[in-house]
Amino acid sequence: MSELPIKESREGSLRIIRRGLSLSPQIIEGWRVTVLLTLLGTAGTSLVPVVVQRSVDNGLGTTDGGVASDRIVMIVAAAGLLLLISAVAAYFAKIRIFTGTERGLTQLRVLAFRHVHDLSMLTQNTQRRGSLVSRVTSDIDQISLFLQSTGMILVLSAGQMLIATAVMAFLSWQLTLVVLAVFVPLVISLKVFAERMSVAYDHVRQTVAELLTTIAEPVVGAAVVRSYAIERRTQQRIDDAIATNYRANVNAQKIVAITFASAILVGGVANAAALGIGVWLGVVGGMSMGTVIAFIFLITLFVGPAQMATQVITDAQNAVASWRRVIELLETPADVVDPGPGSTPLPDGDLGARFTAVRFAYPEGPTVLDDLDVTIEPRQRVAVVGETGSGKTTFAKLLTRLMDPVEGTVQLGRDTAWADVSQVSFDDLRRHVVMVPQEGFLFDSTLAENLRYGRREATDAELEAAIGDLGLVDWFAGLPRGLATRVGQRGESLSAGERQLVALVRSALADPAFLVLDEATSAVDPQTELRATRALERLLDGRTSVTIAHRLSTAENADRILVFDAGRLVEDGHHSDLVDAGGVYSRLHASWVAQASLGVRPETMVR
């Protein structure tokens, strides 16, 4: 952001702000009224200098008895009334600004959240999830903070200075020029200050990130730190991070202090100039005494905003950067889109799948699946095997339309009724095809709520029936609070195996014709494993299924095995056909047998 040439970044910023406002129209809804109220609201601050000027020139400035008390009382009364109006206007202006920005940004937040779920990077690239979360949280907070705090100060200060300048110009254009001239060097130096401040704050943010990571070490890694007796090393790392963060903070504080204070000096010089030149102008040019004094009051209206200016610039840069990130996210096209009206319906009942000349590659990446022609019959039980990177996971993702092929078509259907998956509406597709991921991810809620992810309107009785159908009654009976059992964050109150059970019941409730399963690789406790295997058996019964298999038994029991290697389908057949064929499957099978059986000697292990 700071590396961009100023001009370009300014144009970019304007585009971002325009686009941002068009996405959250509530922010500027009725802006004319808001601006009017704001100007009225800030006008109050310029009243005092005017009152002082009028009073002094109506005799308050003399001791020779020529005080026009009635006029001054009138002026004060009028000012009091205006002050009241101004305060009320300020109240309404602020309410409008808060309400408008909050409504607009909440809409933007929800919009961005919804869009993230349409981006395949969410499911493909787990490392970027953290940054996607910041798009809908801290980035929006940053914009909101700016619009309501420093941005508001910016608007108020601008209004205040505008009115003050107008009042000044009305009183004396010569003195106005003098005051503005004194503030010019400060305005010019603001840019330098703002750049240095932005660099200093960037550094602070970096040190905070490092600090948080190192402070997490003795907490998250308590067992490691203790069992390796590395307390001193850990403390040293923390102390270093604390010291670095301290220095960065103090360094930033220096810049803040100097910029904040320099406006005061400039204010003093302006006072001196107004006094000197004002008195001279009074003597030679007939300027009134009240005007000179009023200028000294008016100058205070410039000092405050000048003190805050650097902070405002830094915050504005951060806010625009955040806004830019959110907008860029929204402008990232969803790679897999719902065909909308005119979609092809899937036939009810059994489903098969057909891949025709399918190729897949990640954008600017190598081809990961090529030249794939295969048809899966309804109610067929298919196991997909292959090494990591063979293309078997890609195959499953194309089948469930988590991704679209680069070439060729993927179809679902049977007999003569086939539909290209990219022409099937999301609703229809997900009613018929469900993927069961490797890790049974649960949401921090009750068991019942988690099961209802499968079928939202299912009753408790239906949930229990589904549990019964999969033969999990004994497991369910052992849960302390039944359906009301809270599963904890990411389901952590349950074991990994139990989470898989929940995922299976969830899929059973969705009752799809076609199931795609990614078998879990991590070992779970054997009893649960046994339960899961039985439940899975019942779940697959009567459905078409494609399982990414990591286990010998899954492949052995499948109707058909598809063997992938280096992005191609290399073998296709039943276990008995493939096991002794001397191909990829023979090798994989031998390795499975080796690790599953007892007393195996190292030389029989397959690399």
Partner: protein, 602 residues
Amino acid sequence: MTSLDSLGGTDTTNLTRRGFRVLGIGIGRQKAMFSLAVLFSVLFGLTTVADAWVLGWATDHVIRPSFADGDVATGALVAGTLLFITAALLRMISVVGRRLIGGIVYYRLVAGDRRNVTRKYLRLPVAWHQSHPTGQLLSNANADVEATWMVFNPLPMAIGVIAMLIGAVATMLAADVVLTLVGLVVFPLLFVLNVVYQRSQGPRMAQAQSLRGDVSSVAHESFDGALVVKSLGREEEETARFATASEQLRDANISVGRVRAVFEPLLEALPSIGVLLVVLLGIGRIESGATAPGDVVQIAYLFTIVAMPVRAIGWVLGELPRTVVGWDRVRGVLDDTTQMPYGPAGLDGTGPIGLRLESLGFSYEPDEPVLEDLDLEVAPGSVTAVVGSTGSGKSTLATLVTRLLDADEGRVLLDGRPAAEIDHDALAAAVSLVPQATFLFDDTVRSNITLDADIPDETVWEVLRTVQADRFVQALPEGLDTELGERGTSLSGGQRQRLSLARALVRNPRLLVLDDATSALDPAVEQRILRALAERSQGEDGPTVLVVAYRKATIALADQVVHLADGRIADTGTHAELRERSSAYRDLVDAYDQARQEVDHE
């Protein structure tokens, strides 16, 4: 957050008193620097008053005479301009000093307590860590420490403001007693308004902060579970859930805004009302000759420039509830007396250690024993597998053996010496635990393995070969120097587990405890690693191995198998023996095969 809510209504005087006590503690810690900051701040207060005095003086000695005589009073004018510039210069210096030194005080206090809290974390036993949520501990060392000392940002300024107010009243009294009365009404009113403002804002801000946390949790969870959301077509429901949380936050933010909208215009208008009153009363005072025009101008100007700084007092008082809550949380950690002292003894000799458990018992909650009456003998250089279903106490056993926890009953003996008598370094050098949950540091691959001990690269590579990690480490952009973690390369679960294993092996432990430490590995890779380990154990200086295992092939490698059930040892023997005589054991270990047979029979 909830504690802040409850603070709102209850005993505020007590709260304020406690808040002031924390202020006292902070001041005590940074006496010299704090005094310096206050000194600058008092200078600021006085020069602010001086600024108004200069205007009053200039009105009476420069402006009025010049206008009256139609001739510039040159000497006085020069003096006036110089006075303005001098006052501004002093004010500038005082602001730089106050903000910089005040900032240093705050950052030092925060850094100091961060050091205190993390030192305490390093001393508190693992059992204590297990009983406190991670998020809470991280927030104790970060947000709570900051919340405690945040008040020191406005504090020097607030003290300077008190000096300023005294100065202001003094100069006003010197100028005109009647006009001073306006100040004596307006200043306290300004002060009270500020306090009411901060106090009504506090709970609302806390509420918004907590809702901001909710929004973040929903986003985290929903994105983490994206695959489930997508494959079950729940995007709309998820969006609705997120929208609900966002709208609650929105309403809370608007409620914060409403309070601001009420108080800010009031706080801004009040000093102006003061000026109007001064002018109004000033007419009579000047007419009666009781006061000079310069005095009226001076007092009016004072109101204009004093208004903003007075808010600092409101900031301090508004901040106090947070100070108290933060301090209580930080003290909660620092005052904890839980400890697990290490003994003075070393562990003599080299080579594998023999392990013996004598009627060992342990419970996290009273009357809910996790382990009961465990007796076990593990011969030096042997491999023992611990088998049992979830919740049978396997992980607890691993932590007791490595003395991350202390047993409630019985004892753990290493080479015949009670573990509790062994000193920390000797214990760590002899016994290595590879825990279930892998923890890697945000550091290089090398540092993650050596933990900065003096270990040559050849040794590191050798161990990496043993754990089958040499190839992927070689493929990393910087090899051993590759940074891992947040800002570096991220590894798969299996790769992380292998580095965690390497970390243990590189130390040549005499007892190696693996707590399900290979679960994310491909079974074939796991086998190769464990086999290499077992081979090392056969040798002279290989470790004694205790392994918590699920996979049958792993269990089969063990010389001895311990079957844990409900916190007790159900049986001990070789795999073949246990299989022979225990059906429960057979059920447990043969689960995969059993499932397979059932399928075959259908």
